[in-house]
Subunit: 158 residues, 2 copies
Amino acid sequence: MTEQIIQQVITAWTAQNKNVADFFTKYSDDAYLKEVAPGRNRPIYLLGHLIASNDSMLPLFGIGEKLFPQYEAIFATSPDKTVADIPSVATLKQDWEKLNTTLSNHFSKMTAADWLSKHTAVSAEDFAKEPHRNKLNVLLGRVIHESYHRGQINLLLV
Amino acid sequence: MTEQIIQQVITAWTAQNKNVADFFTKYSDDAYLKEVAPGRNRPIYLLGHLIASNDSMLPLFGIGEKLFPQYEAIFATSPDKTVADIPSVATLKQDWEKLNTTLSNHFSKMTAADWLSKHTAVSAEDFAKEPHRNKLNVLLGRVIHESYHRGQINLLLV
């Protein structure tokens, strides 16, 4: 039963990733430089933001270093339209695929015990008291976060 | 382990519900009659839409009838701004609390086997082939859907 539930969360994450990828094939790359609503983030920024978000799972799960560590400063700690040079939509789309393929490959090898083990940003002491701070909860949080921004990019008027 | 994971999904759902409720206490009720972006849905509509979405879990889980069956036509099958008479923000906020309290009370009594059993919209034959079409997956879908629209209502400029 546990394996099945974990798979359902992974499937939800994979579906969100595909929805985002599909959105960025709908229009020409220029369209993603428009704000989703007046004064709000642009889809190009939100795609970079989602890459930074998924990428952080590599170190959080102890899998390895981030693939795109430079995106944290551009797409997470800096607001949109404050960094002059950001990667192109074409680059970000490639990065999105590469990153999610890398993560999916690792996820497919993880056991239920792996998923319920602590992530690297929680101490052993805190985890003993708060066992929900496990890797599966990180993934669940990423799914929810991704859907939040997907609702926003889908408001884009082209 | 299974119980813990199920609880993590319920906790995520509860957190989304609270975030939505908190959003609708930020401004005066009139603010929620503005569109979240030009030509897009209004928060009042999206709140009704989320009520209809959560409410559908009552029959889907075999718990009972919907509390607000009339909201399906107003907030799910009809687009925003096409139905003349819709409930007030104050009414919808009360309904949101009442509904989620009702659901939470039922969820707290459900066993892991209950969560992994089929929902009422899938046949026994299909469920035998597709065991992921269980109640927990419905809840996970509701969490993701709620976050999607939460991303949108948070774009409201007041």
